[in-house]
């Protein structure tokens, strides 16, 4: 075990991944480095499993993955690939596990209590993200957003309140939530994407349409992110969430600097592939999980197709807006060249109508984008989080299996010791067996718990999905109807003018 002073991302992976992923970076990011890094495991025979680093929850069978890998280019790129929740365990947040009792911040039993409460407390909270404001100058500048919460829930100190937050604050919140909840099966909504290109434009003060669009896109994404997070009855009550929404000052989240969605997704996908390639086949006693996993995989494919389809539609709509504006201009020019007064007036009116159409096309393109393209993108990213919890369940199962095997070995060792005269060693062996038995029981409970949680979470996800889509679609249709009414109005005006020619 050795300390690595570089950016590290820990993933619970079994199997031979080091050749593929391991690469040391040069930059240091102190909050992410850990005391001890155990070597990778090659299955249950590895003695490293015994290593019990109190600070590293993922001590067993962890694989170090450096962020300064070939993926770095993707990290820094402005690609459209969906984000994946980072699963780093900031050691400050989670209480260290001492021995074999789990002192997680939130024990499983307390979650069950919260869920029972949820039925009584009505969900009434609305969060808006607004007023983007540039703070500072040059490359150190950042965008500050106003986060306003309106609620009648007793959970909060006031009914309406605002705070100022910057993008890295959101990433920091997500990072904390992911580290606390993902590994026990909760689908934590992913944070919006980083965009180095987009932000740089804003920082250098480029006040053009594309940087305005970028800021608006981000603002909307942040709002959706927060709403999705608080809609989750467990996450809503998390102290980090409450602090994020309420407290006027927030400690700066430094660990988010290198967290980029694209690079993380690549790495997690590789990890997931490795899990799939493993010869260890999980003894799936519950067909529900297998069916669900397949279902989500095919849903992922469908959503991505839809997303591409909508992006193409948005693109053409914007093109139509440009072409309509040009047509309007040329009609105006023709009108100006026209001698016949009434005809000239009609042509000028045509130009005006087409200018209005241009505006309507732009509005339509925005509706297409925000109500569908972004929605679909959000769901593709959410599905990655769903996939993550399923993978965690497999790892939890694996841990339980490994504990059982270990227990067996210890029993065998103890049996052997029976025939020797080493009474102290025998006692030690007996003690270890007792510990191990406790561990096996706990691991089994963990596995059952995560399975239960995932079932509930999937149910919640599928319910939310319907509501989400329905809400977006209704907004979209309302905008369509409004647009058509404005089109009709424009044509009425035009008809009146041309009739007098």
């Amino acid at each position: 075990c050795h300390r690595i002073g570089s950016k590290m991302l820990y993933l619970d992976i079994r199997g031979d991944l080091d050749s593929e992923i391991r690469e040391r970076g040069t930059q240091s990011l102190s909050s992410l480095s850990t005391e001890d890094v155990s070597a990778n495991t090659n299955g249950p025979n590895q003695d490293a499993l015994f290593d019990d680093d109190p600070e590293d929850l993922f001590a067993e069978a962890t694989e170090e993955v450096s962020l300064d890998s070939p993926e770095r280019d993707i990290l820094l790129s402005d690609g459209p690939s969906p984000a994946i929740t980072p699963i780093t365990p900031p050691t400050s947040v989670i209480a260290p596990r001492i021995g074999h009792t789990h002192d997680d911040m939130f024990t499983h039993s307390s979650f069950d209590e919260i869920e029972e409460e949820e039925v009584d407390d009505s969900f009434d909270i609305n969060i808006s993200v607004s007023d983007p404001e540039k703070v500072g100058d040059g490359m150190n500048a950042y965008m500050a957003y106003k986060v306003t919460t309106k609620t009648s829930m007793s959970l909060f100190k006031q009914r309406e309140f605002s705070v100022k937050r910057r993008f890295s604050d959101f990433l920091g919140l997500h990072s904390k939530l992911a580290s606390k909840y993902l590994h026990v099966g909760y689908i934590v909504p992913p944070a919006p994407e980083k965009s180095i290109v987009g932000m740089t434009k804003v920082k250098v003060g480029k006040e053009d349409q594309s940087s305005n669009e970028f800021v608006e896109k981000r603002r909307s994404a942040l709002e959706r992110y927060l709403m999705r997070t608080v809609k989750h009855h467990i996450l809503l009550k998390d102290p980090d969430v409450l602090q994020f929404l309420e407290s006027s000052e927030l400690p700066r989240a430094v660990s988010t600097q290198a967290l980029s969605s694209a690079g993380l997704l690549r790495m997690v996908n590789k990890a997931a592939d490795a899990v799939n390639k493993m010869t260890i086949k999980m003894n799936e006693s519950d067909a529900w999980f297998e069916e669900k996993q397949q279902h989500f995989e095919s849903l992922d494919v469908q959503l991505r197709k839809l997303h591409i389809s909508v992006e193409s539609l948005v693109c053409h709509r914007k093109e139509l807006s440009v072409n309509t504006a040009q047509f309007a201009k040329s009609a105006a020019m023709l009108g100006n060249s026209e001698d016949h007064t009434a005809l000239s007036r009609a042509l000028s009116q045509l130009a005006e109508v087409e200018e209005k159409m241009d505006q309507l096309h732009q509005d339509q393109a925005n509706a297409d984008f925000y109500l569908f393209s972004e929605l679909l993108g959000d769901y593709v990213r959410l599905l990655a989080a769903v996939k993550g919890v399923f993978d965690h369940r497999i790892k939890t199962w694996q841990k339980w299996q490994d504990s059982q095997i270990l227990l067996q070995k210890k029993r065998e060792a103890e049996a052997k010791l029976q025939f020797t005269n080493k009474s102290d060693k025998l006692q030690q062996a007996k003690d270890e067996i007792k510990d191990m038995e406790g561990r096996v029981q706990q691991d089994e409970r963990d596995f059952e718990q995560i399975s239960r949680t995932i079932r509930k979470e999937v149910g919640r996800f599928e319910k939310e999905r319907v509501k989400d889509f329905k809400t977006s679609i209704i907004k979209y249709l309302e905008s369509l109807v409004l647009t058509q009414q404005q089109v009709i109005k424009s044509y009425f005006t035009f008809r009146y003018v041309t009739a007098s020619v």
Partner: protein, 372 residues
């Protein structure tokens, strides 16, 4: 009574000019064959004839080659669209613009207008070829066509210089200047509208794709959440089918009214340009003839004078006809453009209303969806 040469070729058209129709377009091997229907002026009855593009060209050539008609060069000849075939080359399709769209319907309409304008023209309708074209059951065939003696701007050797030649008549100088501006503006507007239409078509296709992709998201099973999501996908698919339909409708309206109108106007402006150029060439010719007559030595003087007189008469005839044509055309043109715009507006209004109704219905469906 001595008949003048002009009267020999004179004939009265036996059909009604303003409602000539192209009822059908058929594929005849590589060629397109058009069914032309015209109403007999005497009582009831129709003529049904099949013609292809070569026949149209035959007609046009006959109209051009009427040297015996005084001032024929001053006529604004109704423009004939370019030749279209079953498999037309991409370059020609591009040249045809709006006429290449809509399964040849706009193209047929353009040919129809051509025939209507010819039949309505006081000078052109008198040509026998028009009657033959519209009424003779047999195709005029590949008759030997006399050489087109017209100076075409595009073929003139020093066209540019002649085109700029200063006019002696303010009316015509203004007409020429104005025509230059209008030709360019109209061409641009037509091109820009075509680009709009092409983008509308792309949007319709994209809507279709999205609609189809949504149906793939339907999830089987009894699970109520899955059923709810499936229903949402199916209904949303219907929304985008509606959108596809309405966008297609908008695009078709653009083509059949405004597009066609602008295309016709554009080709007519070109025809006027050609006519004015012919007159300008005649003016140049006249000025040469005058100079020659002045400078001529006594021996040649008489002959040069003859030429000068002939040139003057021709120029006067052309100018007279041209002036009438321009005045007549102005009225026709304004009416035509107004009609195009009114029709466009009416059709788009109808499509927009249908679209609004459909979307409102879809909205009600979604609002009414209640999931447990």
């Amino acid at each position: 009574m001595m008949m003048t040469e002009e009267n020999e070729v004179e004939s009265t058209l036996s059909v009604c000019g303003h409602n000539i129709q192209i009822a059908e377009v058929l594929k005849d091997g590589e060629m397109l064959s058009f069914l032309i229907v015209s109403q007999k002026l005497s009582g009831t009855g129709e003529y049904h004839v099949h013609r292809n593009y070569d026949d149209f060209e035959w007609l046009q050539h006959n109209l051009f080659c009427q040297e015996d008609v005084a001032g024929i060069q001053g006529v604004i000849f109704p423009p004939l669209p370019a030749k279209a075939q079953v498999n037309t080359a991409a370059k020609v399709m591009k040249q045809l613009g709006f006429l290449s769209l809509g399964e040849w319907q706009p193209y047929c309409k353009a040919l129809e207008v051509f025939l209507q304008q010819v039949a309505a023209h006081s000078i052109l309708s008198k040509n026998k070829a028009v009657e033959v074209f519209l009424t003779n059951p047999d195709s005029p065939g590949k008759q030997k066509v006399k050489k087109n003696i017209f100076n075409r701007l595009s073929q003139a050797v020093d066209g540019m210089r002649k085109e700029g030649h200063k006019d002696v008549d303010d009316f015509f100088q203004t007409a020429r200047d104005h025509n230059l501006v209008l030709t360019n503006c109209t061409k641009t507007v037509t091109e820009k509208l075509l680009e709009v239409v092409q983008t509308e078509q792309k949007i319709a296709v994209a809507c279709g794709h999205f609609s189809a992709a949504l149906l793939l998201c339907v999830e089987p099973g009894d699970d109520p959440n899955k059923q709810a999501f499936s229903k949402v996908c199916v209904k949303l698919s219907e929304v985008f089918e509606s959108m596809k339909k309405s966008t297609t409708g908008v695009s078709e309206n653009d083509v059949s009214t405004m597009g066609l109108g602008l295309d016709l106007e554009s080709r007519y402006q070109e025809a006027i340009k050609e006519m004015l150029f012919r007159r300008t060439c005649k003016l140049v010719e006249l000025e040469h003839a005058r100079r020659n007559a002045e400078k001529a030595k006594p021996v040649k003087k008489a002959a040069m004078e003859e030429l000068r007189k002939a040139a003057e008469t021709e120029f006067e005839d052309i100018s007279r006809v041209a002036k009438e044509e321009i005045t007549r055309f102005e009225a026709v043109r304004v009416k035509m453009l107004q009609q195009a715009m009114v029709q466009w507006c009416e059709k788009q209004l109808l499509t927009a209303k249908e679209c609004a109704d459909q979307f409102t219905q879809h909205l009600e469906v979604f609002r009414g969806m209640n999931f447990k």
